[in-house]
């Protein structure tokens, strides 16, 4: 049950040689009504020590044509009269460009909101007009320093397969989970799996099913929160033809589909009280009735429920039935967050890189030290699901044998570059410091206002007001 994990020694090697790092290809886009000529001249005078290749485009549409045709490292774009809108368009445009070029946005007196929004979107820098030499050089140097990454070989991981999924990790928190899982799987006891979103509740439920007495039967999963409330009952219990508008055929519900296997009710806290009563009856009586049908159908399923909510709190608020809770929580397994799992992050990263590299026909054998730093620094609100998502996207865009920072989503790269503090060299005002801190917390919570408000320990309305005030 416990995955065997062996770490390979790291084999550091330069991802890119210094010579290769030297040449930067920059596309300068003047924006509406402007001319790129002056900017181009400045750029060449200030930063061209033989390591720049510069071209211009008159506007966004023509820049898109040039981006489609060739690979660029940087786009230096002058934002127009609606800098926020322009910035959003540029970020969107570069998302689809090959080679993941970085954006340097140039604006007349950029607002704090614009700078922070740019930071959140992974923009390399926001410079103000008139352009100053030292700011531009600093931005380009930052890009060059970011580009010097060292490759680290992927550690070996021996995952424990759970159907199409796998359990990966050897942290103490996960070892506790494996032990409990081993104890409970052999029985037919109803299990409640609790844990934050993306911690792997369904994988654990599948592991229990596959290692238990119901393993020969089907594993049927129902996401109670995904299905509209008016359809959930018929999804679970089935319906007879014509029992309601839209019942075009007789439908066998998930309880019946599971047969003598396991029914996994995910996000059970989202179910209405009326439906909870029907689930309780099914669990107690071991029988169900299809919607619009009079026949009683016996069932022999093992029930596993999962939630990311605090069910005891929901009981106190009258949103969850206490009797159902005790029926479901015969055994409770609590899953740790990704942050609580420490170095499992590295193992999971390696596992997902190999998984997706195989799926997308890529050969990726290493990961850069900077990627590891960025992954370790991220808050992982979405836990393993978020990590999986990030790695899948990175593998898709990776073009060589090492996964590098440029392959990560803008949001993670934004955390890496950290735009130069403004004003340069001076001290921040209280408002600037507050705005920057709010922006950072929002970036860590993936823009989730509620979660950010919790971290900041302020009411969400206060946070919303401050976001509006700072133009975030």
């Amino acid at each position: 049950m416990i995955p065997q994990v062996r770490m390979e020694p790291s084999v550091p090697s330069a991802v890119t040689s210094k010579e290769e790092l030297a040449l930067l290809r920059i596309l300068v886009v003047a924006g509406d009504g402007g001319s790129a000529g002056g900017l181009l001249q400045n750029l060449r005078q200030w930063a061209d020590d033989g390591r720049l290749e510069v071209d211009t485009a008159p506007d966004l549409p023509r820049a898109v044509r040039q981006l489609a045709g060739q690979r660029w490292d940087v786009v230096l774009a002058v934002l127009g009269e609606r800098p926020d809108d322009d910035l959003a368009w540029w970020v969107d445009t570069l998302r689809g460009a090959s080679g993941s070029p970085r954006l340097i946005a140039v604006a007349q007196a950029p607002s704090m909101g614009l700078v922070l929004r740019a930071e959140k979107s992974g923009v390399l820098d926001v410079l103000s007009l008139p352009l100053r030499r030292e700011e531009l050089v600093r931005a380009l140097e930052r890009l060059r320093s970011v580009a010097s990454e060292t490759a680290v070989a992927l550690p070996l991981v021996e995952p424990h397969a759970v159907g199409p999924y796998a359990l990966v990790g050897q942290s103490p928190a996960m070892l506790d989970v494996y032990k409990l899982l081993a104890r409970v799987a052999g029985s037919s006891a109803t299990v409640l799996v609790q844990g934050e979103s993306g911690t792997g509740k369904e994988v654990v439920a599948r592991a229990i099913h596959l290692n238990g007495p119901h393993a020969t039967g089907a594993f049927v999963a129902v996401n109670c929160a995904a299905i509209p409330e008016n359809l959930l009952e018929s999804e679970l219990f089935g319906h007879e033809k014509g029992s309601f508008t839209g019942a075009v055929t007789r439908k066998i519900g998930r309880f019946e589909q599971a047969g003598s296997g396991t029914l996994f009710l995910d996000e059970i806290a989202d179910m209405s009280l009326a439906l909870q009563a029907k689930i309780l009856r099914a669990v107690q009586e071991r029988e169900i009735e299809r919607v619009g049908g009079g026949e009683t159908i016996p069932i022999d399923v093992r029930l596993i429920a999962a939630t990311n909510r605090d069910l005891k709190e929901a009981i106190k608020q009258g949103r969850f039935r206490e009797d159902l809770y005790y029926r479901l929580a015969v055994v409770t397994i609590r899953l740790p967050t990704l942050v609580e799992r420490g170095d499992d992050l590295v193992l999971l990263t390696a596992y997902y890189i190999r998984l997706f590299a195989e799926r997308y026909g890529k050969k990726i054998h290493a990961i850069s030290d900077r990627v590891l730093e960025l992954l370790r620094a991220h808050a992982w609100v979405g836990n393993v699901r978020e990590l999986r998502n990030v790695i899948e996207r990175a593998v898709i865009v990776a073009t060589d044998e090492t996964l590098r920072a440029e392959h990560l989503p803008d949001e993670l790269r934004g955390e890496e570059t950290t735009l130069a503090d403004r004003p340069q060299g001076g001290l921040l005002t209280l408002a600037e410091a507050e705005a920057r801190h709010i922006a950072r917390v929002l970036a860590h919570t993936n823009g989730q206002i509620g979660a950010a408000a919790e971290v900041l320990e302020i009411h969400r309305n206060t946070l919303t007001r401050k976001m509006k005030e700072y133009g975030l």
Partner: protein, 430 residues
């Protein structure tokens, strides 16, 4: 610390009666709906639809002045248009009356109130019919033709365009005749009558070229490109689109450039040139950014881009693009297009063999019926839903949904789509 949980949109809308007066409130409620933050990374996150988004009543209350402002602004310009019509009447300027009434109709159309727009146009037509100068009548008929087209009333639309054309020709109104020919082409295209559409567009193009009306000629060439693509004459389609693009770029018409590049993307996709198609859509988006803000145009491009990713098996990109499109639709008050977005989401889940994807089709049907009120959209959703069920091996349900789609296409007189559904049903029985 974080305050009360938001109310789900499905519950919020259930409390709101289907009254015309509440339409702006409904639109506001939808536009401020946000994904429940707790569900973003939860296992139900990928199935998030409008109904599962949340709204805070206090935010709705705070934003109500915005809704009032939009309503009063709309009424103000409508009333102004009417007063202008009245002033023209006082001056015995009947063409001015017609122009003012038509302007009011266009304002209604801009906010998606097609039925109300038709009423304005009908009043305008009544005034125009009494005039000796027939050009206002030509214009009123053309406006009526387009609004009927938008409402799916193709036969009525064709009648208005025919009358408009006859009058324009009698008056030697070349611009009017060109526009009426384009309208007749659009009706024929919508009904799948390729031959008719070809004839009308070609006629319009000849007239536009004779009048050196480059924007109109470009639009007709684009439509001829659309038509050629639908008839699988892809070389001809490419040539028409190239010519249209040249005209628009010279004229600096950003919105038309976005439109023609959007169509170029569809053509490239049909030719299996996914990289070229993607580049065309991206450039189309860039032109759309330069044009006056038009959420419908941006949505159309993003939906095509998502469909391209879906067909190329780039499911992550497709999903990300669909979520962006959803945000544009909700934020840009174009919730009518949400049904299409959710249909594509459902197709995406079907491609992943994910049965829970049915929630998107259910939401799309609800939106097509209650919000978009478009039988054509509802039929398309049922068609895609049937294919989704079929892909999952649920043949009885697949047949039921396809039969429903066929029934709806029948009611519209839509021959091409109906035949496609019929083919699917035959394949299911085989």
């Amino acid at each position: 610390m974080t305050g009360p949980a938001p109310v789900r949109v499905e519950k919020a809308l259930a409390l709101m009666p289907e009254l015309e007066a509440l339409a702006p409130l409904r639109a506001l409620l939808v536009s401020i709906a946000r994904p429940d933050e707790a569900t973003l990374w939860s296992s139900s996150g990928p199935y998030l639809t409008l109904g599962k988004r949340g709204v805070h009543p206090d935010e709705l209350r705070r934003r109500m002045p915005q809704a009032f402002h939009r309503v009063t602004e709309h009424l103000q310009v409508l009333f102004k248009a009417y007063v202008e019509a009245l002033e023209c009447q006082q001056r015995a300027d009947a063409p001015g009356v017609v122009a003012a009434l038509l302007r009011a109709g266009r304002l209604e159309e801009d906010v998606g109130r097609h039925t109300q727009a038709r009423t304005w146009y009908e009043v305008a037509l009544g005034v125009a019919e009494a005039l000796q100068d027939r050009r206002p009548e030509v214009e009123a008929l053309r406006a009526l033709g387009y609004v009927c087209l938008a409402l799916g009333e193709y036969a009525a639309g064709a009648r208005h365009f025919q009358r408009s054309l006859a009058l324009a020709e009698a008056e030697f109104d070349q611009a009017g005749a060109t526009a009426a020919s384009e309208g007749l082409g659009d009706v024929a295209l919508a009904q799948g009558q390729w031959g008719g559409a070809q004839a009308w567009y070609s006629r319009g193009l000849r007239l536009a070229e004779a009048a050196s009306d480059a924007p109109r000629a470009g639009r007709l060439e684009r439509q001829l490109g659309v038509l050629a693509r639908k008839q699988r004459d892809l070389a001809a389609a490419g040539e028409f689109l190239r010519r249209a693009r040249e005209r628009f770029e010279v004229a600096g018409l950003a919105d038309e450039m976005a439109g023609v590049l959007n169509e170029q993307g569809l053509l490239d996709a049909q030719l299996g040139r996914y990289t070229a198609a993607s580049a065309a859509y991206r450039e189309a988006l860039a032109w759309a950014q330069r044009a006056p803000r038009d959420a419908r145009l941006e949505l159309s491009i993003r939906l095509n881009l998502a469909e391209l990713d879906l067909e190329a098996g780039r499911l992550l990109e497709a999903e990300a693009e669909l979520r962006r499109a959803e945000q544009v639709a909700i934020g840009g008050h174009v919730i009518r297009r949400l049904a299409q977005i959710y249909t594509l989401m459902g197709r995406l889940r079907g491609a992943q063999g994910d049965e829970t994807g049915f929630v998107f089709f259910e939401q799309a049907i609800e939106l097509a019926k209650a919000v978009e009120r478009s039988v054509a959209t509802e039929a398309q959703v049922y068609h895609a839903y049937g294919l989704f069920r079929s892909r999952l091996g649920q043949q009885d349900e697949a047949r039921a949904y396809l039969e429903r789609a066929r029934e709806l296409f029948d009611s519209l007189g839509e021959a091409v789509e109906r035949e496609r559904v019929e083919q699917e049903l035959r394949a299911l029985s085989a």
